[in-house]
Assembly symmetry: C2
Homo-oligomer: 108 residues x 2
DNA sequence: TCTATAATTCCATTATTGTGGAATCATGGA
DNA sequence: TCCATGATTCCACAATAATGGAATTATAGA
């Protein structure tokens, strides 16, 4: 991942309303949520929400699709995972056991 | 993790110089690096570096210890890991297989 | 085509943040 | 005690970001 991409993503997440929006979408899964529903759940004015959705979108953290009159936003998990990887890259002089939490196997 | 803590950490990382500093320390491991060496490697004026180290420290992402005339800074891995966990909390309606990368076992 | 709804864009105001020069503090050695 | 070194704090200026009112665009139904 490029540094600029990571910076854009971190900058997008470093704001209360946007962090809430992003986590809401992360939790919602790939079905996503229409803008109006996000505004309702978080109590944000439509234009303010729109501004923040744009920031998240430009940072590559969310995407949207139109469904009739609604725009449905969803988290971009690949961007999120790339960011997490960037932060921990080459940690501890290449000995990640020293700092990363023990990973578990998937159970599926 | 508290939202405010996550916001502080993200805000601290959402800046070019600080992202470089933090990643340098993550890579350096728990031995850490003296401020002067960080300044040298990243080409930052001492006072500017000091300002950024303070931001990272207040966000809980790094800590320091004195060793003679040097202050040695080191990444706080627990804070980093808590942040990563916060971002992915309850993802995909509790079905993380849908968005998180497959975890592997440690080999040690 | 007229109206209602969902959402966005434009704009001005306010607040926050980053930067580096100069002064200061802390430590250790002569 | 005096000096050199490593680092921080103080301060003012410049740049960037967040907010919400009003106007605008897109879609669908009567």
């Amino acid at each position: 991942m490029e540094k600029d991409t990571a910076l854009a993503a971190l900058g997008a997440l470093a704001q209360g309303a946007r962090l809430d929006i992003f986590r809401l979408l992360v939790q919602a899964g790939s079905d996503g949520l229409p803008a109006g529903q996000i505004a309702g759940r978080l109590g944000l004015p439509a234009n303010t929400l729109s501004f923040h959705l744009n920031q998240l979108r430009h940072a590559g953290l969310i995407s949207f699709r139109r469904e009739s009159r609604s725009l449905i936003y969803a988290a971009e998990y690949s961007a999120m995972n790339a960011l997490l990887a960037y932060l921990t890259e080459n940690c501890c002089q290449g000995n990640p056991g020293a700092c990363l939490p023990p990973k578990e196997m998937n159970h599926d």
